[in-house]
Amino acid sequence: MSVNNSQVKHIAELANIPITEEESVKIAEAFSETLIVVDRLKKADVSKVGVTHQVTGFKNILREDVVKQEQSFTQKEALANAKTTYKGYFVVPYVLQSKDT
């Protein structure tokens, strides 16, 4: 199947990837080329098999639900790579707006 650039722009929004108009055209071409290869999968007979999401066969690997100090960051460590902080917190983009604005 092929993909057009307005579909690409929609996907970019879902994936939170900023792209230019020009990029959306190029990416649509690359997508279509890739999907030609992927579409060959449809030739395989999968009528008798289920899906495989993991290959080890391990199930429900759990550990004790306890805090391990040595595996925890201090507040200072956790913030060490943040671009902007405020009073010991991460600063995140503004996402909620009040009705009036």
């Binding site: 879902l14 990029e23 060959r40 495989t52 690997i61 460590e77």
Partner: protein, 461 residues
């Protein structure tokens, strides 16, 4: 001979006999780095305290020897970029389990090596910090994504190296650079602290000068880790215990001889496998499920997992914002998002996971008859620089022969089986075995390496 040209096993022996000192090894390695790294672009950063750490590790198993580490392993207080501009300046607050265990066993991180940005590729050409060149022939690519680690080994800019593989990223660059590359069973090594790509197939492993070296190094970081829930809880075996074993009576199935595009490579491999027959191994051509389907499986599964794993890069807690993703990462994240959207998930994602099951079943059948399967690692010799721009599917086509064993989690090892005298480029064979049975491929690969002339460290000119 310069001491950086020693194998890991030779270095350990020389240190123990006090024939050389750890300072002398670092001195020769530093000189080689000065002479070659600028042109080859192998290391993105060096560990300035390496020698000091080495001196403190003299009683530990790896004796403080310098190991190159792919720059997608988080290393506390050492820059970790995954070769992306987005992570430029990132200093991890924690250590990956692999590098933690490496240090506990006396290995020292000499420096961090180049890769395709986010490990998305098979050329090391898509790095945001420039391409790495193949030390065997600098007009050619080293392969990837662990191209920096493979090149570090091939150029003797490390004693051994660590890489990671999702579908070919250890074995393919090892093949192109004429080194050994060992991808253990998925779950044999912890993924904790590795910049995630496709979590259901990501697997760290060694790139080394010999099979023996790969086993020594793997011993230092394989095994259970409670920080990775997909890690096998069983203790890893001593991988060196499978060296120098009799291989008489073993059965090897040669697969992909019917893949037309690789006829020449196949022919050369078949010829070289004769040595195994002389050693009492039954070598038989057999048919496996067409590897072409695996390109689609891998492309869909990998993109889907990438879109999820790379969602965390929002520039808030660390790194820069999402506009810093390169073209390849953008394409992969978006294609993954697309194949997971309503209406396309069945058509692509679930279909791919079903074809994955077909490969698992096919291997199950094949391993009823054979102990080990073998095929060329890569369709051809290392491609020329610039080749990765030819197609958005470049990597997938180059890795086609490895993808079936990657999506099924099987262990595989690349050993050189041919060298072209004119170009000085190598071809590699990929031996694979059932899940958790690394012992079988170690036995065969070690015997093959020691009884052929293709390993450049065992056969110095």
């Amino acid at each position: 001979m310069k001491l950086n040209e020693l194998t890991l096993a030779e270095s350990l022996a020389a240190l123990d006999k006090k024939e050389v000192s750890i300072e002398e090894i670092y001195r020769d390695l530093d000189q080689a780095y000065q002479a070659k790294n600028q042109d080859l672009n192998i290391y993105l950063s060096l560990n300035k305290t390496a020698l000091a750490q080495a001196k403190k590790a003299s009683r530990k198993p790896l004796r403080g020897l310098p190991i190159a580490v792919k720059d997608n392993f988080c290393t506390k207080d050492l820059p970790t970029t995954a070769s992306s501009k987005l992570l430029n300046g990132f200093l991890p607050q924690y250590e990956s389990t692999v590098t933690q265990k490496l240090k506990e066993n006396g290995g020292v991180i000499y420096g961090k090596t180049n890769l395709d940005a986010w490990a998305h590729g098979s050329s090391t050409e898509t790095s945001d910090y420039g391409r790495t060149l193949n030390p065997r022939n600098t007009k050619h690519l080293p392969g990837g994504s662990s191209g920096g680690s493979a090149a570090a080994v091939a150029a003797d800019l490390s004693i051994a190296a660590i890489g990671s593989e999702t579908a070919g990223s250890i074995r393919q660059p090892a093949a192109w650079c004429g080194t050994v590359g060992f991808k253990p069973s998925y779950g044999r090594v912890s993924r904790f602290g590795v910049v995630a790509m496709a979590s259901s197939t990501d697997c760290p492993g060694p790139l080394a000068k010999t099979v023996e070296d790969a086993c020594i190094l793997l011993n230092s970081f394989a095994g259970p880790d409670e920080k990775d829930a997909t890690c096998n809880k069983e203790k890893a075996p001593d991988f060196t215990s499978f060296l120098d074993q009799s291989i008489k009576g073993m059965k090897i199935g040669v697969i992909y001889q019917d893949v037309k595009e690789i006829a020449q490579t196949n022919e050369k491999l078949l010829e070289e496998l004769n040595i195994l027959k002389e050693m009492g191994v039954q070598v038989e051509i057999t048919k496996a499920l067409d590897p072409h389907h695996a390109i689609g499986v891998y492309t869909v599964v990998q993109r889907a997992e990438v879109s999820s794993n790379l969602a965390r890069y929002d520039g808030i807690r660390y790194g820069k914002d999402r506009s810093y993703f390169g073209d390849e990462a953008k394409r992969r994240i978006m294609l993954g998002t697309f194949t997971l959207t309503k209406g396309h998930a069945d058509q692509y994602y679930n279909l791919a996971q079903k074809v994955r099951t077909l490969y698992l079943e096919n291997y199950k059948e094949l391993f009823k008859k054979y102990d080990v399967l073998v095929a060329p690692t890569s369709p051809s010799f290392a491609k020329e620089i610039g080749a990765s721009a030819s197609s958005p599917m470049f990597g997938e086509l180059e890795d086609m022969l490895l993808e079936p064993s990657s999506v099924t989690g099987l262990p595989g090892i690349n050993v050189p089986f041919y060298r072209d005298e004119t170009s000085n480029l190598y071809l590699g064979a990929n031996f694979i075995a059932p899940m958790w049975q690394e012992n079988l491929i170690i036995k065969i690969a070690d015997a093959f390496e020691k009884n052929t002339k293709w390993n450049s460290w065992r056969n110095k000119s």
